[in-house]
């Protein structure tokens, strides 16, 4: 029962909201739920990798903004790259978005593992740096006129389902596969559980840590692709308010902030819960700030609950 508590919580919340919140249980809102969930879920999976190693990635949303802006510059017809063939510009743009995210992840990972700096400090610094950079190079302007095909990502279906759902499913499966089936996944858990034991046991602790940050960068850029497409705009302030949602999804999913403990399906439920909360409170007409207060309280409760669980199992 305790294992499935979050699942039932989501289910009950969904049912209650469906009954009580006008407009919640509709086709329109259901799509909106799914489309809001996908980027958050993808980013949370990346974040979870980092948290599993005992770190944290505060730069997630800064990566999102930088990646969005880079993609915008490459793909927008307002700017100079002028790659003639539309499919090629898409490929280059998307590849560049992923590459910049992974590059920032690499900087984070190397600073933490090789320079031995605290993850909190490193990613706080890269967060501030790349947030600033994104705003500075764009002069705080959004970038419009992205390719039609890119903007239509959410309205293009492959095998009966919109492309973003496939992207979400692939990242989810990839995240699950690496963590549960490969050596690397076992190493990630071990590094977070007890880095010293991992080292003595011949594990490449540094490389494992770097991988987690690069993977987080990859996931966050994936999320940036979805957001940018949905907004049809590349924005230098993209995702500024969802950092807590990303980390919150992982924590509500029961991952330990000390590392070594956490499951993909639980993080998925954590993301679902945050989206349900966000969406229903919105429909109830609560102000943005009120919603922030409630979400903050929920996440703090989840941290408390985790701490309590940790202590009771010792």
């Amino acid at each position: 029962m305790r294992k499935n508590a979050l699942f039932y919580l989501c289910l009950i919340y969904y049912l209650v909201a469906a009954l009580l919140v006008p407009g919640f249980f509709s086709a329109n809102n259901s799509w909106s739920l799914i489309f809001n969930l996908l980027p958050l879920l993808i980013a949370a999976i990346g974040q979870m990798y980092v948290i599993l190693t005992g770190g944290i990635d505060l730069s997630a949303t800064a990566i999102m903004a930088t990646s969005s802006v880079v993609g915008g510059y490459i793909m927008s017809s307002d700017y100079g790259l002028n790659i003639p063939l539309s499919p090629l510009v898409l490929v280059v743009g998307v590849a560049a978005m992923l590459a910049i995210g992974m590059l920032i992840g690499l900087i984070n990972g190397l600073s933490v593992s090789i320079l031995g700096m605290p993850a909190f400090m490193v990613t706080l610094a890269t967060m501030i740096f790349f947030n600033g950079l994104a705003v500075w190079i764009t002069g705080s302007q959004n970038i419009y006129n992205l390719p039609e095909a890119f903007n239509n990502l959410f309205y293009t279906s492959v095998l009966w389902l919109p492309i973003p759902i496939w992207i979400g499913a692939i990242v989810l499966l990839l995240g699950f596969f690496i963590l549960n089936k490969t050596v690397l996944g076992q190493w990630i858990y071990a590094v977070g559980m007890n880095g010293k034991t991992a080292r003595v046991s011949g594990i490449h602790v540094g490389a494992t840590t770097v991988f987690a940050y690069v993977f987080s960068g990859f996931c966050v850029s994936m999320a940036a692709i979805l957001y940018t497409s949905r907004l049809e705009t590349a924005s230098p302030v993209m995702g500024q308010n969802i950092l807590l949602d990303i980390i919150g999804a992982v924590i509500i999913g029961g991952s330990s902030l000390y590392g070594g403990k956490g499951k993909i399906h639980m993080t998925t439920l954590g993301a679902v819960f945050i989206i349900l909360l966000d969406n229903s409170l919105n429909l109830m007409g609560l102000s943005y700030f009120m919603i922030m207060i409630i979400k903050g309280a929920v996440i703090v409760s989840a941290v408390l609950l985790n701490e309590w669980k940790q202590k009771s199992t010792v």
Partner: protein, 502 residues
Amino acid sequence: MFLEIQRVTKNFGDVSVLKDINLALKKGTILGLVGENGAGKSTLMNILGGIHQPSSGKIIFEDKSFTPTSPSDSLRAGISLVHQELNLFYNLSINENLHITGFPHKKVGGLSILDQKTARIKTERLLSAVGLDIDPTAIVGDLSSAQKQLVEIAKALSTSPRLIIFDEPKTSLTKYEADNLFRLIQELKSQQTTIIYISHNLDDVIQLGDQISVLRDGVLVNTYNREDKIGTSQLINDMIGRELNHFYPIRNTKPEEETIFQTNGIYAKGLLNDITFELKKKEVLGLYGLVGAGRSEMVRALYGLDALDGGSISWKNEEVLHPTPANWVRKKVALLTEDRGEDGLLPDDTMEKNIALASLPTYSKNPGSIVNWRELKKNILKTVQATKIKYHSLTDQSVKLLSGGNQQKVILSKWLLTEPELLIIDEPTRGIDIGAKYDIYDLINKLVENGMSVLMVSSEIEELIGMCDRILVMKQGTISNEFKKQDFNRSAILEAALHTSE
């Protein structure tokens, strides 16, 4: 009587480290306390220091029952400890360290502020008492280790204690400073301060002690008075005591001629000096030394866990240029470290995950590909049967809930699964029960018979004599003696480890 310890027993879990200790001490006398590593000296002192509480028995201090529950209780009662490991704040000055528990205050306009002048005067007085001529504002981290030790002693004096306990106080002192320390101890004694002096240096203990007590395996085996005029050999006999019984299983093979592991002039600044030795195939090589001799430091450095500043290591006649744990695991060399919780276990994880940890790459093509758990689980099960672990579930029980002996077997299983050709094992049986001990010895013998070599680090001489083909003795970061099997002799080995050249 000034201090009376009556029937004090201390258990840590199932292991009893002090058994029924009785000890009485007159005011203004010096008690010398000796015993092997792990005999219980430090535990006894920690009880007086309020760090541990006795499981049973009582202590009478100055005619009152004494039951400290924290170090500050003991300090207030008038007992000071000079610890073997220094308890100083390296980032603070000498002055601040000496007043860390209570800086003098003064009132300025109704506001209570630190009284720097009074503090400084007191610090200067304490420093001159220990013979340390140095500026009180010097940062402790910048001092030499001898100076730090003297600051630690000054700190113990700062509360004007009536009982001072010294635990190996002169390990890093020079001859001159040590003489100074002894003068100070005599002076304290003449001022009616009572002193307990713990040391491995038996000559010092005999020179200082009005009374000398010997601990062995948590039991107080003998107490002598100055009038008994006993010598070091008597003390060594008491420390070792029991006969070596037939507890150790017989191994049916002898070391082969082939050298598989060799070090040449290993050097690490301040820790290890010119360590050269070789290890044969199917040999069990023992490494003995007292606490602080550098045993664990050496094996950790060899395995690439701590830095080496020079020297070379070769494995199967090839120089190992990058000794890192990952490379050693690949070469089938395993290290079982001394501290299970620190870097041996994933305490919150299951037995299966713990045991699989070092072998994962062997069961997949590369780190990114799928682990062959079916094969892995099969072999884990085999290993667990060989190590005779008692457990409920491989996949549903975190290893921190296992007993010490079973935890050690889990780590051993982890390494056996890698099929090592050399097993370096640091304190193989520390803190584990007798049954598990035997299982581990027996298993090591079987593995050696099948071709493995072992480097066994231990602070128990008996264990080494019972298991090894050859024993090296380390002292002050270097190998000082080598004993062949036919020359194994407990007193000789202990003496080799104790004796200081100064």
